[in-house]
Amino acid sequence: MTTLAERPDVAPTDGPRVARSRSDRMGIYLLLLPSLLPIVVLSVFPLLRGIYLGFTDARAGRHVEISFTGLANYRELLGDDLFWNSFKIGLLWAVGVTVLQFLLALGLALLLNQQLRFRGVARVLSVVPWAMPPVVVGILWKLVYHPDAGLLNEFFHRIDADGLRTNWLGDFNTALPAVILVGVWAGMPQTTVVLLAGLQGVPRELHEAAAVDGASTWHRFRNVTLPAITPVIVAITSLDFIWNFNSFGLVYVLTAGGPGGKTMLPMLFAYEEAFRYGNYGYAAALGNVMVVIIVALLAVYLRRRLREAN
């Protein structure tokens, strides 16, 4: 496939708006082919096939007959308490992490945008969690939450609050909040960097004009900064929400869905269905439901933001 890379001599020399001959177009397609072919074979096709599998009774194992079952998987999902439970947890997780991530990142970005000392340290530190593999972030926080050797419990001991010591990831009440906090820690850096870039694009003159007019800091934030960075906010929160809803590795390492399914995100649930129980069709149906829900929620969110903008 890559031999095509050595034939750029067939590419045309004309500009984008000039009418192209047929051979020119062939050249362009030859350049694009090595990239497009793998994407079609191993990304587009599997995706379509995955969507289709959601309407079948596919199961693990060689030489298993697959038959089309229509909406049977979805009827089963409707009556599956475990699915509803996982779905509820997934929403709590995705919304919780996204909102907290955004608020904390906005605060940090505003601080980093000022002339403060230690700003350099904070900038570097705020990127490190982003650089860590999700599995390592999971391990790191497992060490922090460890019931005996953990940083958090030791902290509560040192401040004479031994009553607050608990098995954070093993307790039914604390497991989900504890996991959400990790999600925030892991995702905050990227959101901060994006928001900071947005803040740096706000024209100085606007602030100066507002300051001359006697606007307070809060008013300037509310009426100058916020409107200016709204497009950035909408873009990054939408992406964060998608990434969070589809996240897997972090929680897999932290709790593997436990205790008692309290942190069983939809992705973990689908993984178990597919690769522990071999219910490929059912797991794919679950994936389809996840896509529909993400798209629906995003549509509502984006429409409301758009209406606010007008």
Partner: protein
């Protein structure tokens, strides 16, 4: 930017910044500290923040007992192959995308955004079935193939940004001087594109190095496991004294991406990865 804040305002700002530094920094300090603690200090009833007798024993143990060394080598192999292949495959296409306007290009870039929406469960089952059919399930080659495809959309987007930054006039000038199409690419475009190629290769290397889900599902033989999968299996092993080697291994697994981020720091803080050729 907000003019001169009052003294209480400043104090509040520094308090908030300290809060952020503690939240972001302490878990990292804890990982470092755990990685250098001897077993005796790990099982101690009340652990300390700074190890009193730091040791590198955990690193040695991580490699010898838990075979993280082999996993790291596996990861290195898979990530290097992914990086090289991604660049080779993306190079011609990104050139075409940057220099000629085609509908195909728009579609390809649209796919980048659309593919973000779909959970991996939908992809993984058919991919697993395809790889099994062609005999690449449970092999590094299969994993590399998936990583290349997975990194391609973003790599294309990134590389074509770099190509766009090379003035078209340079190419035309070389052509006027009698250089052939191939010579123009070799003498003018590729040298100027070097930073972009490095950045794309690093991106692809890191996304393969950090990837967990596909590696977990597609590779079953323990000897072939990549570093994240080996670390995740390691987590399951009970015992407080094991935390030391686990932390040490995790620290090593983070090094490549830290280097990558240090390299990209300037572009990251200016907010755009599709940065200029300058510098």
């Amino acid at each position: 930017m907000f003019g001169k804040p009052s003294r209480t305002g400043r104090t509040l700002q520094y308090l908030a910044l300290t809060g952020y530094l503690v939240f972001l920094g302490f878990p990292l300090v804890w990982l470092l500290s755990t990685a250098f603690k001897p077993p005796r200090e790990l099982v101690q009833l009340h652990p300390t923040l700074i190890p009193s007798n730091p040791t590198v024993q955990n690193f040695v143990q991580a490699f010898t007992e838990q075979q993280l060394g082999r996993a790291a080598l596996n990861s290195l192999q898979v990530s290097l192959a992914s990086a090289v292949l991604t660049v080779l495959v993306a190079l011609p296409a990104s050139y075409a995308l940057a220099r000629f306007r085609t509908r195909l290009g728009t579609i390809a870039l649209g796919w980048v955004l659309l593919s973000q929406l779909f959970p991996f469960v939908l992809l993984i089952i058919p991919i697993f079935l395809i790889l099994r059919q062609v005999g690449l399930a449970n092999t590094h080659a299969g994993l590399v193939l998936i990583y290349v495809v997975w990194a391609l959309p973003f790599a294309l987007w990134m590389l074509q940004g770099f190509v766009r930054n090379i003035p078209r006039d340079l190419e035309e000038a070389a052509a006027v001087d009698g250089a052939s199409r191939l010579q123009v690419l070799r003498r003018v475009v590729f040298p100027l594109l070097a930073p972009g190629i490095v950045a794309t290769a690093l991106f692809s290397f890191i996304s393969a190095w950090n990837e967990f889900f596909f590696a977990l599902v597609l590779v079953k033989t323990p000897e072939l496991a990549t570093l994240p999968v080996a670390l995740a299996r390691f987590v399951g092993i009970e015992g407080t004294a094991r935390l030391g080697p686990l932390a040490a291994g995790s620290l090593l697994a983070t090094l490549p991406s830290l280097i990558f981020f240090a390299f990209m720091q300037r572009r990251l803080s200016s907010g755009s990865l599709a940065g200029a050729v300058k510098g």
